[in-house]
Amino acid sequence: MTTFINPLDINPIDMEAFENAVHAWFSSASGLFTIWQEQGAPQPDYPYGSLKIISGPTALAPQWEIRQTYDAARPLGQEIKFEYAAPCRFTVSCQAYAKQGALPAVTYINRAMAALSTITTQTTFKVAGVAMERYSAVRNIGKIINETWLSRANIDVQLTALLLISEYTGYVTSVGIESTELGIDFTI
């Protein structure tokens, strides 16, 4: 009996949909032009926001769900399909940057945090298969860059996305038993 991993499942989590949903929430709720960090790309003008997945995916093992289906129309040896689904936790660090004297960065993060529980945000997440789990406190973490204070704030949001993977296998069609000592030779 051989198992086949569906080649379409090489990316079992739709990361593009996940990232798009997180970006849509943060950019619209904060009102900031928002980028993903570490792309080797130019820094936008202030104020702006940035996102980075700082941990995950972490599969929540006890919550694995396995579904088994049978389809005789599939190729020989792949008639049985196992579908596995598991929620995976991600932590996304959301940052806002603003010049001193302008609207403080913490204001943008507060706005984004406040919108996390709204139906609009929940719908954005749900369409992408994402669920908001919990979030950290808003941190006001201004710093000095080139001898000038930069207003900076951060919130870490824990989200879950669904990992989906499937594999295929066949079934045993016949079993043969043979023994010259016992005089047995038959196939079921």
Binding site: H23, I35, W36, Q39, G40, A41, P42
Partner: protein, 123 residues
Amino acid sequence: MATFNNFSLARAMMGLAKSVTVKRALAGAYDRAGRWQEQECTSFLIDAVVQPLNGKELQLVEEGARTRNTLKMYSKTKLNVASPTTQIQADHVMVKGSEFRVTRMEDRSDGEFYKTILVEVEG
């Protein structure tokens, strides 16, 4: 650079110039999802004088690149050097079929030319 009467060093130097191809990465842009999208490169010809580096100039080459092929180039065209703040990418110059990266540019614009140091790009 000093200009004496009608004599211009740049003009005299450019009399020795040959055409070289410069490859420049066009500026990209962020898409709606906050992802940076690179643009294609563009190529253009400039007139330049290309020479080997002398011993003193070799010390100007960045560490880690001193064993690679290096050249200096004089031209009237200002070329781009990589910048960590603006994220502008360095121009590449094609010399005799090999590709070189602009690693340093000296502004001699008072003499109407620029001096650049080129390091061969490892294939």
